[in-house]
């Protein structure tokens, strides 16, 4: 087993709101192996983004707070790390690509200037050197005529180009870990494929570890080495990508996979999982999925399921096994 670059242990991030405590992330654990791509999958509001923000120490406080657990980056615990130290890790060691590059780029500066600023924040380079590096990065993520593009403002670029610029900016200081928070959600299908190609290429050439957050299983099958399925702030199943997609054990995971449209199947309604994500303020007891689960048993209402190792590296949190 290769060494893990990121180990999340029993992470709990709660939001203390007027209406009660929202347990956005409630005791999740996973390992991200060096050089691999770990996909966090789950529907909206299941705590994927909050997990990413917790790793970076960027949960809005108040109302949010990491109340428990550890996040080991190498041997350093990011959850209990002084803010100052964390700032030097952010961007340099761990970088993020956000969902919507349109709003994640500052509208009043050119792409080049923003990347240069980012580079000079962490590395001691002259303006000219940083500029050269920025242009190389833009080339690396596949922006045609990068010298020219560096002089553009975000609104002058197309959605795909903006997302690439955002990726270039995240890569600017050679991070060892890249967190991509739904980087393909805000772009259309053709661009999506291109962006994924960029990530695949980066993973190969840079030997970078990738934490890829998405709700699209199609993307997961292309890019993921390992998948963590989240539901309502908890992990329900984790397995290597191929194993999980071929052989899902948790009813929620198989439900998600069944939701995908099948190109062979000519007619019939698309399947869906009945019901909605439960309220995180007042969650159901026992297994959080039981109100929507077709195979729920009596025990599911009472007891939170323990992890079950169904196969080597395939863990599922379900009473069925």
């Amino acid at each position: 087993m290769k060494e893990a670059i990121l180990k999340v242990r029993n992470l709990k991030t709660y939001f203390f709101t007027r209406r009660g405590i929202v347990k956005a992330v409630d005791g999740i654990s996973f390992d991200l192996v060096k050089g691999e791509c770990l996909c966090l999958v789950g529907e909206s509001g299941c705590g994927k983004t909050v997990t990413a923000l917790s790793i970076l120490g960027l949960v809005d406080s108040p109302p949010g707070r990491v109340v428990g657990g550890e996040i080991f980056y190498d041997s350093m615990d990011l959850a209990h790390c002084p803010a100052d130290q964390l700032r030097h890790i952010r961007g340099k060691e761990i970088a993020v690509v956000f969902q919507d590059a349109q709003s994640a780029l500052n509208p009043v500066f050119t792409i080049g200037d923003q990347i240069v600023e980012q580079i000079r924040l962490h590395l001691e380079l002259s303006h000219g050197e940083a500029r050269g590096r920025a242009i190389n990065l833009l080339k690396e993520v596949g922006i045609p005529s990068p010298e020219e593009a560096a002089g553009y403002y975000p609104h002058q670029l197309s959605g795909g180009m903006r997302q690439r610029a955002m990726i270039a900016m995240s890569l600017s200081c050679d991070p060892r870990l890249l967190i991509a928070d739904e980087p393909t959600t805000a772009v259309d299908v053709t661009i999506k494929a291109q962006i994924i190609d960029v990530f695949l290429r980066l993973k190969k050439t840079r030997k970078m570890s990738l934490l890829f957050i998405t709700h699209e299983l199609g993307i997961v099958s292309e890019i993921g080495d390992r998948i963590v399925v989240m539901y309502a702030g908890r992990v329900v199943e984790t397995a290597p990508a191929a194993e999980l997609l071929d052989n899902p054990r948790h009813p929620y995971t198989s439900g998600l996979i069944n939701c995908l449209p099948d190109i062979e199947q000519k007619r019939g309604r698309l399947e869906s999982i009945p019901g909605n994500v439960p309220s995180l303020i007042n969650p159901p007891g026992g297994c959080l999925f039981h109100p929507r689960c077709g195979r729920a048993m009596a025990i599911c209402r009472k007891k939170q399921p323990p992890p079950v190792n169904v196969k080597d590296g395939h863990t599922v949190f379900c009473h069925l096994y």
Binding site: L58, R90, D100, S103, N106, V108, Q118, H122
Partner: protein, 362 residues
């Protein structure tokens, strides 16, 4: 010689940059010469800030400046106002070279009307115990006439323009800088800090500013630098409020989170990301608050609490008001200048606001 220039141009990155730098150096030198004037240091500091944060960025984004100029241009009043302000600046900078000393009294030539006007003057003759009345024509030496001490009105108006612009620009500069900083910091940090800063703003706001001004001038004596500082240090409250409300919505934008995620410090986010995004608002607020400041200084001079060492419009207005029945022009000239200056700044401010507003289709 030309080779040397070309080499230098290459070093600074192009001929245009070289010309720009030379102009900047020249301007800097004129500023240095002014160091011996009152407010010289403040001037120099403001000039440097202006150069780095206004002239240089504007020069670098000529395309954008061109775009906004096209938009401003469609508002004829704003262009007129801008022309008047430029004229005023030229007058204030170069006027004193061509006019006599505005404080030099000359009783031989008192109460001269402006060129083209004629008044009658009655002089009591003690020998005949009669009033001799004679007609007095305006002379070309004193195009706007003289006051009751024989001081040249044109020189006084030009000196007043200089004072008004100094006070207007410097005090507004201080107020806007302070207000922007407090507003942005307050919005960005939020929570307790926001509360503290906004309550401070409330407190400063409730101070009757004019009374404070009178009070401080009474205690410390009237000096232009003091007046500028007081107006600047009390006038930031409105700016802070407006900037804060704008920054509050900016703060939740994702690029702030993104730059935080990429390791930027709070100070950096405030200065490099939030402030540039409110710059259009800052420009509009600054332009619209200059007239108020000019009026405040004029009012202070009018009630006799201005700096007695410099001739300002308020002071001339005061002198003119006392001799309104014999020489109306003394009061009319500074009054008209004040009127048009305030109007011009308001027009320009309105024009800029419309031009910067992406929703207005002018």
């Amino acid at each position: 010689m030309t080779k040397g220039i070309k080499k230098l141009a290459r070093v600074v990155g192009g001929m245009k940059n070289l010309v720009f730098i030379l102009l900047a150096v020249l301007w800097g030198l004129t500023l240095l010469l002014r160091l011996f004037e009152p407010l010289g240091y403040l001037y120099l500091a403001l000039g440097i800030v202006f150069l780095i944060y206004v002239v240089w960025p504007l020069y670098n984004s000529r395309r954008l400046v061109g775009y906004y100029w096209q938009r401003v241009k469609r508002n004829r009043l704003a262009v007129l106002g801008l022309a008047f302000i430029l004229f005023l600046i030229l007058l204030a900078v170069f006027g004193p070279i061509f006019t006599p000393d505005p404080t030099a009294a000359n009783f031989e030539q008192k109460n001269l009307p402006p060129v083209g006007f004629t008044t009658s003057e009655s002089i009591y003759n003690p020998q005949t115990a009669q009033f001799n009345t004679r007609l007095v024509n305006g002379t070309r030496e004193h195009p706007l006439g003289t006051d009751n001490k024989g001081r040249d009105l044109l020189a006084m108006i030009i000196s007043g323009a200089r004072v008004s612009l100094q006070v207007g620009l410097l005090a507004t500069g201080i107020a806007v800088a302070l207000g922007t900083l407090i507003g942005v910091v307050s919005a960005y940090l939020g929570g307790k800090m926001d509360n503290i800063l906004m309550r401070l703003t409330d407190i400063v706001m409730t101070f009757p500013f004019f009374l404070l001004l009178v009070f401080i001038v009474f205690i410390f004596g009237p000096s232009l630098a003091f007046i500028v500082l007081i107006i600047g240090l009390t006038g930031w409250t409105g700016v802070a409020r407006l900037i804060r409300s704008e920054a509050l919505s900016l703060r939740t934008r994702e690029f702030v989170l993104a730059s935080k995620a990429l390791g930027a410090s709070d100070g950096r986010i405030i200065l490099a990301h939030l402030v540039p995004n409110v710059i259009s608002l800052i420009i509009v607020i600054a332009t619209l608050s200059i007239p108020g400041v000019i009026m405040a200084e004029a009012a202070l001079s009018f009630i006799g609490l201005g700096d007695p060492a410099v001739t300002s419009w308020g002071m001339v207005l005061r002198a003119g008001q006392q001799s309104l029945d014999t020489s109306w022009w003394v009061a009319v000239a500074p009054g008209a200048m004040l009127f048009f200056t305030v109007l011009a700044f308001n027009f320009v401010g309105d024009g800029l606001r419309d031009a910067f507003d992406p929703r207005s289709n002018i």
